[in-house]
Amino acid sequence: MSSTTAVDVVMPQMGVSVSEGTITKWSKQVGDHIEADETLLEISTDKVDTEVPSPASGVVTEILVPEGETVEVGTVLARIGGEGAAPAAPPAPEPATQPAADAAEASASEGQAPAAEVGDTAPSGNGKSFISPVVARIASEHGIDPSQVPGTGNGGRVTKRDIQAFIDSGASQAAPAQPEPAQAAPPPPAPAEAVAPAPPAPAPAPVTAQAPTPAQASQEAAPPGLGETFEPMSAMRRGIAEHMRRSLDTSAHVTSAIEVDMSRVVQIREKLKKEFQSAYGVNPTYLAFIARAATETLRDYPWVNGELRGDKIVTRNYVNLGFAVELADGKGLIVPVVKNAETLNLLGMAKSIADIAKRARDKQLAPDDVTGGTFTITNPGGYGTFLGTPEISQPQAGILGTYAIVKRPSVITDENGTDAIAIRSMMNLTLTYDHRLVDGAYAGRFLRDLRERLQTWGESDY
């Protein structure tokens, strides 16, 4: 069919996961006539190399992308026909890149998760967003976000059976819904390791009630290839995936690191261990020391404990400290929160941490225990890692990473100015902060002050 209006030839999507393609060969030149379905060009994608048939008959009036160039799916590559059907001049490089740039922008914005607002009940990947009364009730009683549950009802609705099966399968850990409800079913975290501070955790990803984006979630996987097996994503995994992606897309993540001499803390801890154990039945972990010091330091750096909400900066007169906890089966993590940590001394902090660790182990965390955090501490160093770049738990502004305490030779200067080599217990700390709110210098000062507190911990400091 002939066209008098130009017909666009676009980069096809050769495969569900393909997002771009490379022009390998133009079979026609500008000015050539082509029939519909006749091969116009050849492309290469990471899935397949293929020929692209012309969508129309007519004269090739424009070729916009040269051979060898890679463009996003949907980019206009050429035009057929058009007014006068006279061949147009080959497009200048700028115009050529323009569509590509446009397309790149377009797809970039597509790729971005629509900012999920607090309390947003955007349709989950389950399809129908309708939650029936009984499902709503069961969800609230178990602290489950129904959008995390695979639905088999009409249009993918979550049915009562679906959510019951979900609960029975034990996949209902964490993921507390925002509002009130009864009890959550959180998982057992790994018990505290010997040296490393408290429960180890890779990266924090408190699973909040935010829904995964429709675009991502509704993508269907192509069937497994040879040598591949499929397993379904658990709701928790989905939640983590969504949160991780969104967190990176939301905050401007920057990480600063500092080295801390923990020798003093080690010393004091040794002394306190026995006393705390016998008098209070609690172990003063390194995490407790760090948490105490961090809470104090946050007082002077409110933005690290703050939040960017819309165009407002939120600061608080309290600290709700989250602790990233790995689940026993290694299939996810949870971040219980110690509320009003600023009111706790070392003993109180140690007790609180022990309590939430126990409750996390015994699956007795309530939804209230995993929401409302203002700052988080995570320990990627549980397995010996000395540095990491944790992700911020939205909507917070910072996360403190603790790492393995390792005995190292270190230069220390005595009061006379003499240098000597000593064996010191050294530990790295990272502060990952949202650079939209917190600048590097601010973060650096925070770390400096935190280090100072830890390194000069007084024996009578509690």
Partner: protein, 322 residues
């Protein structure tokens, strides 16, 4: 135990009560010499005499008013409307006097009114109705609708025993079609208590009367689904607890009755479930009932009127898939 038809069970229950209590007597049209239009009282007049099995004039007022007066004076009349449809002629005495006398004047009126009801055999508009909802609406009356022979016997005994006016809806289409094991001895089926006809997990059907069998058939056609059928047995006072328990269990409810839809008793049940088990519902409460017309005569039309097995199957499927 013996296998009896639904009709025989009613007859047995009534006869045994008449033997047991001389205050019990039967009055209606053609109940004596003829044994009743459906032969429920066949042989009764021979056994009990013409003053305990009264062939009444063609006068529902005399039957109903007469029963009321006799009951106030200490008798236990079991009156019969030849067809439930004729109860409209007796409405006044039933609703104005019998229903209200206890509440307003402290005088109990222990009567039973037997009402051969229901359609399915081309009875036409005046021989096929199910008027239970009209009377369930009147405070002071009780309405029972047995579906099984066992319940029919137990409930006629219970109705006679009850000190209130009890309307006994006996479904004509069950009379001879349905047989069942019936205990020989005297027993009382409690008025106001439902019976689980079959247990299930996925969806509940609340129903009564002949529709119990329609529900059963429909469930059989969905063997992969777990369907619970609750036979209300008494429409007033109805077993709210049992219905709500089932609704909470399956979270999906279908109310099925042969009576017409608008103002049919299913509306009361559905509204109550919505009010009191809202947070246990996984789907809206559905009703399947006859359309809002008089009962048609021609078999083709009647089939389109009375809820059929297919209708129920369709309704169940929709609910299950919801």
């Amino acid at each position: 135990m013996a296998e009896r038809t639904y009709l025989q069970a009613i007859s047995d229950g009534l006869r045994e009560e008449m033997r047991r209590d001389e205050r019990v007597f039967v009055l209606g049209e053609d109940v004596g010499v003829y044994g009743g239009a459906f032969k429920v009282t066949l042989g009764f007049q021979e056994e009990f005499g013409s003053w305990r099995v009264l062939d009444m004039p063609l006068s529902e007022t005399a039957i109903m008013g007469g029963a009321t007066g006799a009951a106030i004076m200490g008798m236990r009349p079991v009156a019969e409307m030849q067809f439930a449809d004729f109860v409209s002629c007796a409405w006044d005495h039933l609703v104005t006097i019998a229903a209200k006398q206890r509440w307003r004047a402290g005088t109990p009126v222990p009567i039973v009114l037997r009402l051969p009801s229901g359609g399915g055999f081309s009875g036409g508009p005046f021989h096929s109705q199910n008027p239970e909802s009209s009377f369930a609406h009147i405070p002071g009356l009780k309405c029972v609708c047995p579906a099984t022979p066992e319940d029919a016997k137990g409930l006629i005994v219970a109705a006679i025993e009850d000190p209130n006016p009890v309307l006994f809806f006996e479904h004509k289409h069950l009379y001879r079609r349905i047989k069942g094991e019936v205990p020989d001895e005297r027993y009382v089926t409690p008025i106001g208590k439902a019976r689980i006809h079959q247990e299930g997990e996925e969806v509940t059907i609340i129903t009564w009367g002949a529709m119990v069998y329609t529900a059963e058939e429909a469930a059989k056609q969905l063997p992969d689904s777990s369907i619970e059928i609750v036979d209300l047995r008494t429409v007033m006072p109805w077993d709210k607890e049992a219905v709500l328990a089932s609704a909470r269990k399956t979270s999906k409810v279908l109310v099925l009755h042969e009576d017409t839809r608008t103002g049919g008793f299913g509306g009361e049940i559905a509204a109550t479930i919505a009010e009191e088990a809202f947070e246990d519902l996984d789907a809206p409460v559905r009703r399947i009932a006859a359309p809002d017309t008089p009962v048609p005569f021609s078999p083709v039309l009647e089939k389109a009127f009375i809820p059929q097995v297919d209708d129920v199957v369709r309704g169940l499927k929709e609910l299950i898939a919801y």
